[in-house]
């Protein structure tokens, strides 16, 4: 049972959230000329044994998208920030 400290709602059980994977990538402009950048964003993600920066949405709470830094081996959560504040690669 992970406990996630939602910046808006406080610490809640992970069951209130939905997991959406890697959050390290920036999203390019939508145009077709950025095809290769989109390939990199969608398909090339780090897969660390260690701290992983990932999206969770508080779907059963405030509906805000968050970025969680979680250790993929111990599941220790280092930080939780609103998604807009994430740092990208």
């Amino acid at each position: 049972m992970l406990r996630i400290a939602c910046p808006y709602c406080g610490t809640r059980d992970h069951e209130e959230f939905s997991y959406f994977g890697d959050a390290t990538q920036a999203y390019p402009d939508l145009g077709v000329e950025n095809h290769d950048a989109w390939v990199s964003t969608v398909y090339t993600r780090p897969n660390p044994r260690g701290i992983h920066s990932e999206f969770w949405q508080h779907t059963l709470g405030c509906r805000r998208w968050l970025v969680v830094k979680r250790h993929t081996v111990t599941h220790d959560i280092e930080s939780v920030v609103p998604a807009a504040q994430r740092s990208v690669a």
Binding site: M1, D29, L30, E33, H35, A37, W38, F55, A84
Partner: protein, 1004 residues
């Protein structure tokens, strides 16, 4: 099994002492025979009080079995309790509190445990070795497995599973605590006391019905008993410790979360009043102390599985805690000092006791103490054989050299009525194993201890290898302080002390085999695994501990190897010539002891298994013959019994009246999202492949949205309500995903856009009215509104209100069609949904308006070639759907870049076609693989069938599918082959629209 019912509670009952309450006699029945005991007894102690040892038959060989232990480690004494809706198989008699009127039954024996016909398996035992099934049912006899399996299933297993509904209630509870202490033995109580004194809020869980752990098994006048009473008093005085008995910590999970199942005391549970039988507690602790104790190991000698062969500590427990002497002429065989206390307790109750010590000497003080209560001690000796019919009565002792571990011969025989054995103690490391921590071997105590503890988790007592009372208390004290330290709480003060007079000298012991040993030496009692089985596994190459476990089933029973793992691993290590520390260990997983599924389900059973989402017209459908179907959490009406006796009849009838007259369907489950803001139009332009910013107010547009990788995510119709407000619909299945997607785009990708989105799925009821007579019905229902084609054209919106009986009811009426007929979607606020539906039904009577269900709705759209999730299955592109031209060339949208990836643009991708049945006349099964006429029917084929139905209008079975080359193959025959059923269908490829391709019917 018929033992006398005596007022004293059994002829083996000791006249005084024990922790039972002799003022409260209680009786239970076993196989119909009554046995009287007292409050504080278990079923096992009650049976032993009446000199009953034979309680079951073993798993494979159906050998007679007796009570081995006194706690959770019990492998043999498993009963079925209760009847019907309360029946529970495989319950250990050693941990079941005696309760008035409890009905228990022995298992795995027919007609009775004393006369069991299946014991014939014992004669076949040379064949039933490890790997028997695997070796026998191979090759030419493999087909015979299906026949043998029928009989094997009847003979296999211990208890029989239950088919009745469990009538009991189970509850759940969430606990948030500073410190959780698991175990109430000396170490656990010390930890709880120390943590509480430091100021922590402590929860202590104990699986037994009394607190004290092994302290409960010491004589009443002992220092241990006094220490227990003292510590409990001190703990209660802190006012900071919540004590839970009958509460098993069955598993430990991420985030310092522990699963505990709390059982109610006898007589409390009441299914009629909803008083739960068990409560599942999810405990989230800031720090955890594990004081789970240790379990005594059996010794391995011939006949060690016979009834009246017991663990030494169990004998001590029965004497001191339950005032029961399991025998009066006992022989103990031990390899350590601690077991002497058990022998002395039994001797002091009046029994004749001999003790055989594997070691060459005993500490003088201990020897003197033993002799002083009349125990004869034989050194350097071991039991090599126990014999007796259905109960141990003769023991063979031979010389033993503990330096070499070899039996030296020189046999002597003794007559006994009880054998007690102690091979040392195995720490209960299970909870650390749940955290994937491998145990480490300590050669000084010849056992495995936990390798490490997670942060904020600590171990104490015999679980971490402490072998003395004092050591256990001191380690508990330290662990409690460390746990409090996690919360930055500190205490000082000294731990209680408890001196015992004995040391802990000990010598490891492997199988005690002599040249004269015949018969079986058991390692795993519950699964009938012998030393021979382990050595066979080694000979056949199954030497890894993981293979050993699965090949022999060692440790795979309900006891999870509590008395067998280490002995089995020891035999394998010896066979491999390895030190046991290098042989490896298997991983224990939750639950530590069996957990009732009811406790894990809690209240989420039957109708509460998952939420039910009902539309506003739900009851109306049921009252009018609607047959429901689950669509996610929604209950949707699939068909109506008023239209046919079967689904197949009804949907065809419903399709017919929709195409020829008028029908109405409940479409409330579709996702609906309100999109508002100054940038709402711009936002929708980026979300959809087609344009919305130029959509006129009061107009709707059908659109697709893509995933980031260019694959189609969903389709829907979005209507412009005002300059800055749009009303979006999605499919039922994708509503939640689309909502999250929109929120993602607005919060993460384009936070600068001024748009808010709100899910309004539950706020609007929706109904789809369709058919040539629709306009007449609507005009009759809403005479104040104008439904003429010019006033409400195709894809137009009427955003208005009802009048008369529906005065003030908001109505959003969209003219769009899914069925291909003239049709309108009517959205009303949910609380008015039923009223509007009934109003329409009444207004539609002259034109025979009838309701139609999901099956008909789905079939009507197949006739029109409208795609749904079967076509938009997460692998298909816009081009695959035949909708490539919908993608805007002048604006960018989410997914556009990757939709141009080479692999998504390949010309041979399967794309949407229509299919008509040629032969046979039935619809092809959904998912059938498509092949061209001259293809061999093998491999991945050319595509697959996505949706199928029977079309009366077309006059044959039809389908939609995805086919390589798509509509370039119109007119050609293809074959649909179903690998699941082996059937094949000949189909003709046609355009994916079977009715009115020009769209004349819905534009009138």
């Amino acid at each position: 099994m018929n033992a006398p019912h005596t007022a004293q509670g059994g002829k083996q009952r000791i006249a005084s002492g024990g922790r039972i309450d002799r003022s409260k006699p209680l009786t239970f029945t076993l196989d119909g025979s009554p046995f009287q005991g007292f409050a504080g007894d278990t079923l096992a102690s009650t049976l032993l009080a009446h000199n009953v040892h034979l309680v079951g038959r073993s798993f494979k060989y159906h050998r007679p079995r007796g009570i081995l232990g006194s706690g959770v480690e019990e492998p043999n004494a498993l009963f079925t309790l209760g009847d019907g809706g309360t029946r529970e198989p495989n319950i250990a008699a050693t941990t079941t509190e005696l309760e008035q009127g409890l009905r228990a039954r022995t298992q795995n024996a027919w007609p009775s445990v004393s006369l069991d016909f299946m014991a014939i398996n014992s004669l076949l035992s040379p064949v039933f070795v490890a790997g028997f099934y695997y070796k026998t049912f191979m090759g030419p006899t493999r087909k015979a497995w299906m026949l043998y399996e029928h009989f094997i299933r009847k003979a296999a297993g211990l208890g029989a599973s239950v088919a009745d509904f469990d009538i009991h209630r189970y509850d759940y509870h969430n606990d948030y605590v500073d410190v959780l202490v698991i175990g109430s033995g000396a170490a656990g109580l010390a930890a709880a006391l120390q943590a509480a004194r430091a100021g922590a809020d402590v929860m202590l869980v104990e699986q037994d019905f009394e607190l004290g752990g092994a302290l409960l098994n010491c004589p009443a006048a002992s220092a241990q008993a006094q220490c227990l009473a003292h510590m409990l008093q001190e703990i209660k005085a802190t006012g900071r410790v919540r004590l839970f008995t009958r509460s098993s910590a069955f598993g430990i999970y991420d985030g310092n979360t522990v699963g505990v199942i709390e059982r109610s005391a006898p007589g409390i549970a009441d299914p009629d009043f909803g008083v739960p039988r068990q409560r599942m507690r999810t405990v989230r602790a800031k720090a955890i102390v594990m004081a789970c104790g240790a379990i005594e190991r059996p010794l391995v000698f011939g006949g060690n599985d016979k009834p009246a062969v017991m663990l030494s500590s169990a004998v001590g427990a029965y004497v001191n805690r339950y005032a029961v002497a399991p025998g009066r002429r006992a022989l103990f065989c031990v390899n350590n000092d601690a077991a002497y206390a058990d022998a002395m307790s039994l001797a002091q109750s009046g029994a004749q006791v001999q003790l055989v010590d594997l070691r060459p000497t005993t500490a003088p003080a201990l020897l003197t103490a033993a002799n002083s209560v009349g125990i004869t001690v034989h050194h350097g000796s071991a039991i090599t054989q126990v014999s007796g019919f259905q109960r141990a009565n003769t023991v063979r002792i031979e010389g033993f050299d503990s330096n070499t571990g070899r039996v030296m011969g020189g046999a002597a025989h003794h007559e006994v009525d009880l054998v007690a054995m102690s091979g040392g103690w195995t720490p209960t490391v299970h909870l650390t194993s749940h955290r994937n921590v491998k145990p480490v071997y300590r050669s000084d105590i010849a056992c495995f201890v936990p390798g490490a503890f997670d942060r904020a988790q600590f171990g104490a007592g015999s679980m971490v290898g402490e072998q003395t009372w004092d050591g256990a208390i001191a380690s508990g004290w330290t662990a409690g302080a460390q746990a409090a330290g996690v919360l930055s709480l500190h205490s000082s003060g000294d731990a209680p002390t408890l001196q015992d007079g004995f040391g802990m000298a000990f010598v490891p012991a492997g199988p005690l085999r002599s040249d004269q040993s015949g018969g079986k030496l058991f390692v795993d009692f519950q699964h009938d695994v012998t030393v021979d089985d382990v050595e066979l596994a080694h000979r056949e190459g199954y030497v890894s501990v993981e293979h050993l476990k699965r090949y022999t089933t060692l440790g795979m029973g309900t006891d999870q190897g509590k008395t067998s793992n280490l002995n089995g691993m020891g035999v394998m290590a010896t066979a491999r010539g390895l030190d046991v520390s290098l042989a490896g260990t298997t991983t224990f997983r939750p639950p530590y002891t069996p957990a009732a599924l009811g406790a894990l389900a809690g209240r989420n059973v039957r109708g509460h298994f998952q939420p039910e989402r009902l539309t506003a017209m739900h009851d109306w459908h049921l009252a009018h013959g609607g047959v429901k179907m689950e669509a996610g959490y929604w209950l949707r009406t699939l068909w109506y019994r008023t239209h046919g006796a079967t689904l197949s009849e009804a949907y065809k009838a419903e399709m017919e009246f929709v195409r020829e007259a008028v029908g109405i369907a409940d479409t409330s489950t579709l996702g609906k999202i309100d999109v508002q803001g100054p940038d709402a139009a711009e936002f929708l332009d980026r979300v959809y492949v087609n344009g919305y910013s130029k959509l006129a107010i009061g107009k709707a547009r059908y659109g697709f949205m893509l995933r980031e990788d260019g694959i189609v995510m969903d389709d829907g119709t979005t209507t412009r309500i005002s300059e800055t407000q749009f009303f979006m619909t999605t499919t039922t299945a994708q509503a939640a995903k689309v909502m999250s997607h929109l929120e993602f785009l607005l919060q993460v990708v384009w936070p600068e856009l001024r748009v808010t989105v709100a899910s309004v799925t539950d706020q609007w009821a929706a109904m789809s009215i369709a058919g040539p007579r629709t306009r007449e019905v609507l005009q009759a229902a809403f005479p104040h509104l104008d439904f003429a084609d010019a006033s409400l054209p195709f894809m137009g919106l009427l955003d208005t209100h009802g009048n008369g009986p529906l005065e003030g009811v908001a109505l959003r009426i969209l003219r769009l069609t899914f069925s291909g007929e003239l049709a309108y979607e009517i959205f009303v606020p949910t609380h008015h949904g039923l009223a509007v539906w009934e109003h329409l039904m009444a207004a539609g009577k002259p034109w025979q308006l009838r309701p139609y269900g999901l099956e008909a709705l789905g079939s009507l759209r197949i006739e029109k070639g409208h795609v749904v999730g079967s076509e938009m299955d997460g692998r298909t592109t816009l081009g695959d759907m035949g909708a490539g031209r919908m993608a805007s060339q002048t604006k960018d949208f989410w997914g556009k870049a990757l939709s141009h990836s080479p692999h998504l643009q390949k010309p041979d991708r399967p794309s949407l076609v229509g299919l008509e049945a040629v032969d046979p006349a039935q619809p092809p099964s959904n998912g059938s693989i498509l092949f061209f006429a001259d293809d061999a029917i093998q491999g991945h084929g050319r595509g697959h069938v996505t949706s199928t139905t029977f079309s009366k209008t077309v006059g044959k079975a039809i389908a939609l599918g995805l086919l390589q080359g798509g509509t370039a193959h119109v007119g050609q025959e293809v074959v649909a082959a179903s690998p699941a059923t082996g059937r094949q269908y000949r189909l003709r490829v046609v355009e994916p629209c079977f009715i009115d391709p020009q769209g004349v019917r819905y534009r009138v």
